[in-house]
Structures are given as C-alpha cells and as structure tokens.
C-alpha cells in the first residue's frame, strides 16, 4: 500500500522498481522497502511499426539468497504481459526464479536468487502505449527539377503519462537521438538528410487515379543508392515539396503521402495538376460487329486529343481501362510505347509537341463476346 501511495505521489506516474531485502512471501517483501534505484539509462525503441518498446537499466543491490523485487506503475499504459526482466550481463550469476502478479494492481514482483551480496545491473523492457510517432519528409527540388535535397524528420508525441528526463529514442532504421520528452510534449528531429537525390518528373493522365480528365504531375524517386538514397527503407509519411525559384527563395509546390518504400522500390509523389496539358476524349467509333443471337463483338475507337501548351515537348503517360475480353487492333496509333499492365489496364506513352500542336492517340480495340 505504501508503495502504491508513493508511486501515485510522483509528479508524473513513473514506473518504479523497489527491492525487498529478503522475505518468505511477496507481500511481506513489498513492505520491506529498502531502496528505490534510479534508472541509469532509458531507451525508447520504435522498431515495430505499431508498438513502442521502453527499455531501462537499473542497478539493484542484492543480498545473498532470494530477493524480491517489486515493480509497479500508475498512470501509464504498460502492457503487463510484455515486461521482460533480466540481468544486463550475459554471464551473470543471478537467476530470476519467478514473477508474481498481485491481484488488481499494476505491479509485479520478481523473485531473484543471488549467490552473494552484490550490485547487479538489470534490464527491464516493456511495451508502452500512447507514444505516437510520425515520419515526414521535406524535398527541396532544384530549379531544373532533376534533383532534390531530401530531409527525413521523426516526430514523437508523448501521451504515455510518463516524462522522460533523458532517453535514447531509436527509430526503426536504428537512428538514435537523446532527448528529454515531457508528458504531452511532442518533439521533431531531423534524422536523415540526403543531397542531390535524383528525381524524375512525369505527366500522367490516369483514369484509375482520377476521373476528371486532368493531367497529374508526379515526381518519382527510387529508394536506391544510384540516386543518392537506398540506405534505409523510407517509412510512410507526408512529403512536402518545395522548389528553388531561382531568386534565392523557394516556393511550396505540393505535398503527398509517401508510401512505405523499401530499398529498391519507387516512391511516387503527386504535386498537383499540369494545367498546360489538355486531354480531350472522343469516342469516334462504337459499332456492334459479329452478332450471334444476343452475343456480339464491338469495334471501338477511343480518340484522345492531347495539346501541350508548354514551350517544350513533353512525354505524357496515359493509363486507360477497358473492361472484359478485348484486344487492341493493329491500326491503333499516335503513341511511342504501349504496355498492357493487366487485363483491364493499358499504359501509353505519347510524345506531345510544344505550343499547343495537337497530337491524336487513337486507341482502337475490339471487345469480344459481349451480351
């Protein structure tokens, strides 16, 4: 009872370890309070995508024989089942005999056997809730849009109920930074920065991403060493993109969610709409052919008139869909390359001359056995 009162009286609800000198029963041991050893080191680890592991070290004075060590907490969300207690030294002579859980309490008692009186360093780790993490990125794109500096930020918001006077925070990719973090406080740290990262700009008319006939502007960067990245997988996070305006300042040019990008994979970021590229769709042929009772084929010609009003030529990628069984006719024209991405989806790359000169993509196909 004393212990619980003591714990509750702490300014923030710290988990505390308390040692009982020696006793036949756990209850008695918890009354025989001897010391409250301070934490010597705390690490807060974010290796798991959803869980936060807190690992702390404490040196506890043991007596020869069985020692009972109490560990209790209040106001924090510690997963009781996740608590692991072990000597820090691999060759320690100390043994953990048992763990007891008092009823209705956020506490447990370890029975520890020691061959002699000694000070032993222990490591206690547990999963703690209500510590939020957030990854974000900032890309500063060069004026010519071929490279960027890519900053990786890690932000922690501490709602755990515990204040960390000093702790090592370790990100999923092993980056460590030492910070104090109070209850309720958030802290953002720059954890990585890569310069001269190569990026590719793409114009995409993609009916699987939007239905309004807009041309999207994407930046594509591959998480590989070839382009200046490739050191760690890139966590999911918001990417804010700025561009050097050539006048000593930068303009914000858009933001997107960057998906989790393993090493070798690509991250595609939409920055906005390319209003200077217009696509106008017309169905030029829509005939029924080869009728057999209520079954027929169709002959369809979808025409996309593309006008690029920029001062230079661009390549436009068009991602289109045709449902059902179909095949493209040989006289389809107006494209540089064609790829059938899956049965329903096709990708064309079209070279678009500058200053509004129209180019026609004629997607001629035949649907089979429609009823």
């Amino acid at each position: 009872m004393k212990l619980r009162l003591f714990a509750a009286a702490l300014p923030t609800a710290l988990a505390c370890a308390i040692i009982g000198l020696s006793s036949p029963t756990p209850a008695e041991a918890r009354i025989k309070l001897a010391t409250l050893p301070d934490r010597e080191a705390v690490a807060v680890r974010f290796d798991h995508p959803n869980q936060v592991l807190v690992e702390e070290e404490r040196t506890i004075a043991l007596q020869a024989g069985v020692n009972n060590i109490d560990f209790s907490w209040a106001g924090t969300n510690i997963d009781k089942g996740s608590i692991v207690f072990r000597p820090a030294a691999a060759d320690s002579k100390v043994e953990i005999l048992s763990t007891s859980y008092p009823p209705g309490e956020n506490a447990l008692t370890w029975a520890v056997s020691s061959p002699d009186a000694r000070s032993e360093k222990f490591r206690i780790s547990y999963l703690m809730g209500n510590i939020q993490r957030e990854t974000s990125y900032q890309a500063m794109v060069s004026k010519d849009e071929t490279t960027c500096s890519f900053k990786h930020y890690f932000k922690i918001r501490n709602w755990s109920g515990e204040s960390f006077a000093e702790a090592d925070f370790i990100t999923r990719d092993g980056k460590k930074f030492e910070k104090a973090l109070s209850q309720g406080e958030a802290k953002r740290v720059l954890v990585n920065k890569w310069d001269n990262v190569k990026i590719k700009k793409e114009y995409v008319y993609d009916l699987t991403r939007q239905y309004e006939g807009k041309v999207l502007t994407d930046y594509v960067l591959v998480n590989s060493k070839d382009i200046g990245l490739g050191q760690i997988p890139l966590e999911f996070g918001k990417v804010r993109i700025y561009q050097d305006d050539g006048k000593g300042t930068a303009a914000f040019t858009g933001e997107d969610w960057g998906r989790f990008t393993p090493i070798g994979d690509e991250m595609r970021l939409n920055i906005g709409t390319a209003q200077d590229i217009k696509v106008e769709f017309k169905k030029m042929v829509n005939d029924v052919t080869n009728r057999r009772g209520n079954v027929y084929d169709t002959d369809e010609l979808d025409q996309y008139e593309i006008k690029n009003f920029k001062d230079s030529e661009v390549i436009l990628t068009l991602v289109l869909r045709v449902d059902g069984e179909w095949e493209m006719m040989k006289d389809a024209s107006g494209f540089e390359s064609f790829e059938r991405m899956d049965n329903e989806t096709v990708k064309f790359r079209v070279k678009c001359p500058p200053k509004g000169a129209p180019v026609l993509l004629k997607f001629h196909y035949q649907r089979k056995d429609v009823w």
Binding site: S136, Q138, V141, E145, R157, F177, K179, A180, S182, Q183, G184, E185, A186, K187, R188, V189, L190, K214, T217, K238, R240, Q243, D245, T249, A251, F252, T253, G254, E255, D256, W257, N270, I271, G272, T273, A274, Q275, D276, K278, K282, K283, M284, V285, N286, D287, V288, T289, N290, R291, Y296, D299, L301, Q303, K307, F309, D311, K355, G356
Partner: protein
Amino acid sequence: MKNLLPALLLSLLAAPLCAKEELVTLPKRDGVQLTIYNSEDLTLVRETRTLSFKAGENRLQFSWANTLIDPTSVEFQALADKEGNLEVSDTSYPAESHEMLIWTITAKKAASHQVQITYFTSGISWSAEYTGLVAADESAMDLTAYVTVHNRSGEDYEDAEVRLVVGVIHLVEKVINLAQPATSRAMDRKEMEDWARDAPNKSPSGPGRGGGGGMSKPKQIDKAGLSEYYIYSVEGTETILTNWSKRLRSFSVAGVPLKTVYHLNPAKFGPEFTKVLEFKNNEECKLGKEPLPDGLIRLFRQSASGTGYMGALASKYIAKNDEVKISVGSDPEVTLKEKRKSFAKQDLVFQQRGNNRVVSGWTTLEEFEIEVKNFRGREIAVEIHRSAAGDHDFDSEDKPEVENFNTRKFRFALAANSSRKLVFRITTRFGENVRAK
C-alpha cells in the same frame, strides 16, 4: 486594428526544457513575403529576422495565438550560414499550448544571423477577374486583368511582398484543419469564395490603407513560370489588413481581336443557339505572355450611347496558345430553327409469339431542316453540332464533319442579312434491324 502576428522569443539561457527560462521578445521582422495560392486555402508566409545567438544551445520560442497557422508547417532556417554555425537540434511542441513551439538551436560560436521562418496559414486567398470592353462591331476588345487578394486570416500583413501562385497544387490535408483545434470551425473554401465575392462591397478600400504605397502608376506584376505553376510577383510591398481585400491590375491590352461564332452545341453551351466571342491567348491576339488564371470575365460593349453589359463567364485556366470561348447568350438577331420535315417507318420485321405476330424490328427515316437567319449587318460564323442515338446513318449534302461516333458538325460563314438551310436525314434501326457490321 489588432495585430496578431506570431511572436518570437529567444531564451537567454542554454537551459533544458524544465529549467526556468528568461525569454525576451525579439526585434521586428526584417521582411515578410506572402505566397498565396488560388487553388487551395493556403498561403506560405516567409519572414526574415536578424537574431543574435550565443555559443551553445539557444532556445527559440515561436507562438501564434488566434491565427490560422498550421503548426506542422513551421520551419526555421538560417540564411547565409555557409559555415553551418547554426543547427536545429530539435523542435519541441509543448503540451500546454497548441499554438507554440520551441526550437533548440545549437550555435558553434556566438554570432548574429539572419534567419528565415516559414509557415502555412489559412484565410488568405486571391482571385483573378477580367474586364473586356468590346468594340461596337465586336471585332476587338480592350482586356484588363485584375488580381484581388482577400485576407480573412485574422492577421494584418504590413509591407509584405506579395506573390500569387497560379496552378492547382496537391494537398493531402487542409491547412485550416491542421491550424485549428477540432472544436472551432473556420470558413470552408466555398464560404471563403462567397465572402471574397462580396468583400469589395463590405470593405471598400479607402485612402491611406495601403492603397498604392504613394505610387502614381499602377504596380507592375512580374510573372514567371515554376514547374507547373506561374508566380505573379507584385512590385514593391503591400499592406493587407485582416478582413480587407485589395485589387491590383495584372495587365491591360488594347485591341485584342475577337471572332464571333454562333454555336449550337448542347454539350458545351446548353440547348440554346448561343453567341460566343472567341480569342486565343497567343501573340496574334496580343496576349500569350502568360496563362490566364481561372476567374470571372465580364464583357461590356462600347457604343455611341455609352457602355452596355454583355455578360460574364466563369473562365477556367487558359494556357498560353489555348483558345477562349466566352458565351454571351442568345442573340435575337441571329436565329436557328429546326424542323422535322418527314418521318417514315420501313423494313418491319415480325415475330410469332403464340398466336400473335408482333413487330421485332423496324427502321425509321427522318428528314430534318435547320435554318439559320442572320439579321445582322455583318458576316458571322456558325458551328452546329447535331447528335443522333442508336444504330443510325447520318446523311447530308451539306457535308458535315464527324465530331464523334454519334455527332456531326456543320461549320459555315453566313453573310450579312442572309439565311441558310441545312438538310440532313437520319436513318435509325431498331430491334432486330440493328446491324452487326
């Protein structure tokens, strides 16, 4: 008017977070720049200040109570710090305030630095408007473009460099949602647009309220392309107080040649026979230096008796070299009438159903006539789109163009005080008569 600009404080102690701090308010900003976007409720504010740093840790507090600043966007950057004297160790967001952050900045040596603080704010928008003064014979117009900045951010911006961004930017979260706790609610984009439309009536700008900075000529607006955007930079600085709007002239061009075309095109201009004024955003039309951002185009006609209102169009973004078509509605002096001159059925096909013979296939033959009359004293251009449904043939001696698989297009010029009749036949097959080619 109360100025609610963000406050910047620097702690004098190289102290940990829990230590008692002595904070001082820092000197005024050296400058402020607003980059205002028109596709989103978003403004990038960039302010510069000169600060003195001690060697070691410096703690810089930035707070923005009662404003619409997105806390996740606030960034600190040392300018002209090639030696890397300053480094942001971390950014702390204290639990007690949603409207404050503290940078811990490590300086290798004591020095004075110009620093830049950038952040996003909601509540400032801009829009484009155009006024066209059309010549009496509609052959040309004088076009003037304006940009109007609307400030509902809760902040006064004095002597700010103003940049306006033309383009559609992609945001994954609204700045207003990031700026405000869930309990309070700001205007959404539509409300802001409504407010902006009415703003000139509510808050007419008066003399002495930054109405031109003492300049005798309208300010120049420099336009430059950046990625998919155009940035309009207003000459000098502007003072834009909260709840005020300010309109500036973007450009003015006299004698933009116009073409008048009468359209029957239900897909684009509705079911009416519509008069459309056309021009191109190119050099030939004395334009084409930059795209024209989306905005309201109002047309007035000059005549001997004065100026008359012709109409208005909410125009979309007009790229360089793209064409502009402004519908000014129907014109009683140019009429169109369509008649169905004949209708007949043929090729009836029957099917036996029990004791009855029922029709299971048929073909209709229809002949139409469209007559266009031009009562005006000048030649006009006409463009007529005519669609038909189902399995049909379209036949006409007037040689229409194929617009798409079910639409034909007639284009012709019509002399002053004349008329023309178009005749076409539509053969439509139904039921079992529908062809398989």
